[in-house]
Amino acid sequence: MNDMQSRINDFVLKIGTVNGTGSASANGLLMKALFRMGIPVTGKNLFPSNIQGLPTWYEVRANHKGYMSRCSRVDVMVAMNIQTYQKDLAEVSPGGFLIYDSTWPREKDLNRHDITVLGVPLSKMCNENFSVARVRILMKNVMYVGVLAALLNIDLEVIKKLLQETFASKPKLIDANLKAIMLGYEYAQDNFTCPLPARAETMGDNSGNILINGNEAIGLGCVYAGATVGAWYPITPSTGVMDSFSAYCERFRVDPETGDLRYCIIQAEDELAAAGMIVGANWVGARAFTPTSGPGISLMSEFIGFAYYAEIPTVFVDVQRVGPSTGMPTRTQQCDTLMCAYASHGDTRHPILFPANPNECFEMAVNSFDLAERLQTPVFLLSDLDIGMNDWMVPELEWDDSFTPDRGKVLGPEELAEMDRFVRYFDVDGDGIPYRTLPGEDPKGAYFTRGSGHNKYGGYTEDSDEYQEIVDRLLVKWDTAKTLVPDAVLSRSSKETKLGVIAYGSSDGAVIEARDRLAELGIHVNYLRIRAFPFSAEVLDFLHEHQTIYVVEQNRDAQMKSLLMLEANDIADRLVPILHYNGMPIPSECVVTGITQHQAGEAAA
C-alpha cells in the first residue's frame, strides 16, 4: 500500500463500460469536476469501431505536475462491463483498487490479493430507486460518479454545480442525477474507508485553462482562418473536425439580416471528390479545406499531386488512425508522416504541420491556410486520434484581432492594368513562387490550369527544357517553404549533454515526462520538438550538435527518422528510433525504457 500513499492528485482512474449506455456524460462529469478543483487532468477515450454493445474505456489521469501523456498504470478501476471484467481486474496496478457492481456474484477464481476489490450493488440500488428501464441504465453510470466522489474525495459541491449547468433547461434531470450520485456517495461512505490513498485535493487555479479536443480546435481554427468552403467524406477519427466547423459556422457565420450562410459545407461522394472540391474552391480564391484520415489521403493523392504541380493552395487535415489499410479506425498512430510528405506519383513534396495538442491545432489550422496561399501548394495539418478525439487540458485559446490573413501573391484588375501581359508561372521574385489571378475578375488574367506538362507561360508543353524549368523552380519554392514553416521547439537540459531526443505531435507529452524521470536517473537529454516539414535550419543544427539522437514516434517504421535521414544523411548512424505503435497513445514509460536500455547497451559496449 506504500506506493499508493503519495497519490494525492497523482492517479489514473479507468472506467470500463459498454458503449451506447450513456457512460460518456458520467465520465465527462468526473473529468470536469477534477478540472474545476484545479487539478491538471487528461481524459482518453479507448473505444471500439462500433455503435452499441462493445467494450469501451475512459481513462482519466490527474497529475499535479501537469503531465499530459498516458502512463501505463491504473490506480482505480471501475469495472462496469462483465465482458471485460477479467482483463480489467488484471490491469489494476499492485496496491490499487477495483470497483464493481456487486448486484451479481463474481466468479470466485477471479481474484487478486495485491489489490483491494470494492463491491457496490449499483444495479440493485438503481432498480430500487428508479422505475424506467432506460433511466436505470443511465443512472447506474451516474451512481458510480457518486461512489468515486466519496472514494477519491471529489468535491460534491462542484459536481452539483456541474449538474445544474448541464441540465439548466431540464430541472427534473438534475434531481434524478443528484439522487443517483448521493446514493453512490453514501453507500461508499457507509461501507468503505473514504477517501482512498489515491485521491483528489483542491489545488491550483484552472481558470486560465480549458478542456477541449483537437478536432474541435481545428474546426474552430478553420473558422478563424476565414475558410468558407469545407468539403469532406465522413471518416473516423476526423469527423469531429467538420462537426466543429459546422457548429461554429452556425454560431458565427449566419447573416444577421437574411439568415443566409457565409460558408458552404459539402459532404462529398468520396475523398477523391472532396479533394477536387477544395482544389476548385481555392482556385477561384475561396479558402477551402478537407478533413480526413489516412485512407482518405490515399484516395486524395491524385489531386494532391495535381495541386502541387498546378500550384493551387489547399489544406488537408489528416487525423491519423492505425493503418495499414482499414487498420484500427478507433486507435491512434503517427503512421502517415511519410505518405503526407511525398503524397502522389511523380516528384512531389508537401509542407506538413505537426500540432502537439489542441492549442496548436487551433493556431496551426490558421497557419496552414496562410502557408498554402503564400506557397500556392497543398499543406497538411497532421493530427491524430489521440489529439483529435481525447479531452485535453490546455491554456485558453487566444486571438489577436490585428491579424490579417496572408492571401499570397494574387494579382487583381488594378495590378493587371499596369502589366503588358500576365504570365502564370514566372518566378518574378526569385522565391520560386509565381503570381496567380482569380477567375471572375479580369480577362487579362486568364490562364489555363493543367496537370499535364506546362511551361512558364502556362501553355501545354512536351518540351524537355520547358518541363524541367518548372519542376526545378518548384524546388526553389521548397527552399522558401523552409523559411516560412513554424520553428521547432528546443528544450535544453540543465546539464551539458550530447544526448538529444526528437519527437513531434502527440508524442510530446510522453517525452516531457520521460525527461524528468530520466534526469532523476542521471540521464540528461536535450529535446527538440519538430513542428513542421520541411525542416528549418535549427533541426539540422540539432542533429549535428548531438552524438546520439533518439527519435520518438508512434509508427513501426520510424518514418520521421527516415525523413531526417533523407535531409541529413551524414548523421544517419546517430539516430536511434524509439517506437510505439500498438494503437494506444504512447506512455512516458516507453521513452524512459527505450533510452535507459539503449544507454545501458552503449555503456556495456
Partner: protein, 351 residues
Amino acid sequence: MTFMARPNIQLPGQKLNEIGLSLRDYEGALSTLCAGCGHDSITAALVQALWEMSLPPEMLIKMSGIGCSSKTPAYFVHGAHGFNSVHGRMPSIATGALAGNRDLIGIGVSGDGDSLSIGFGQFGHVIRRNVNMLYLIENNGVYGLTKGQFSASADAGSTSKKGEVNQMQNINAVATAISMGASFVGRGFSGDRDQLVPLIKSAIAHPGCAVLDVISPCVTFNDHEGSTKSYAYMREHKLRATEADLVPPRAEIKASYYAGDTYPVRMHDGSTILLKKVDPDYDPTRRNNALGYLERHRRHGEIVTGLLFIDQNVPDMHEQSRTVAMPLKNMRYEDLNPGSEALVELQRGMK
C-alpha cells in the same frame, strides 16, 4: 510544341454582340484534334452560343477532365480561366469552384470515358447536388487517345474499327441523368449546329446542372460501318423530339411563337426557353414520359435528340445550402472571423 495560340485578328466590319465583343473574342487556341473531329464542331457551337448570349469572358470558367473532349476548353474563350483537371474529376472541380464563387458561369466539358466510366460517380453526384453549370459530354463511344477501345457508351452489337463486336450493354448518358433526377437533360449531334447552339444556350440559362449529351463522331476510330456513333449512322437515325430556343430577358415574345406545340419555359433570370414539341407524343416535363419515349425509340435504333427533360424549379446547390448571395470568395475577412471577444465567450463553456 503542341500549343498554338490563334492570331487574334480583329477584322473591320465584324458583328459585335451586346457587350461589344466579336465572335473572335470567344475563340481560343488552335485545335490539335484530328481534322473532321466532331468535337471541333461542338467547340464552334459553343463559341457561337456564348457570343450570342453576350457573356463576359472573365465570368466563364471552362473545366474538363482527361481525354480528347477534355482538350477542348483550350479552344474557346481565351479570356476565360480554364481548368484541365484529372480523369473523371471535372465535376468536383466545378462543384468547388462554383461553391467558392457562385457568380461564375460554369462550363464543364467531358467525354463518354470521362463521365460514364472513371467519372461515373462524380457525374451522378454533381447532378444530385444540382450544381449550376453546363455539363457537356462529347460522346463518341470510343477511347481515342489510347487508340480505339470501346467506351461505356458504345452500343451492344456495334463494332470497333478492328471488327470486334461490343457485347456489353451501353450506359446511356441521358437516360441515366434523367433517372438520377437531373433538372435539365438534352441531347444533340455535333453535325447539327442549328439544333446545338440553342440547346447550349438553353442549358446555360437553366439554373441548375444542365446535362447535354452531344454525339460527336470520332473520325479516326469510330466512323466506320458497324459503328452507331458515326456521321452516317447519326444522319440516318437521329430523331428530333423537341426544338428549343432561348429568348433573352426583355426580348419580346411574339404571339406567333405559340403556334402548334410550342410553349415557353421561363427561367429565373427572366429569359425564356421556347420549347417546340416536334413529336406531339413527347413531354419533356415528365420524367417517366421522357424515359419511356427514349426506350421505345432506342429499340428501333433511333437516337432521340432535343431538350429531353427540364424542371427549372429544382433547388441548386446554393439554394439547398442556403449560401449567401455574395460569392464566398468576395466575403470580407471581418465578416468571417468572429474575433477575440467571441473566442473568450465561447471558451466559458469549456471550463
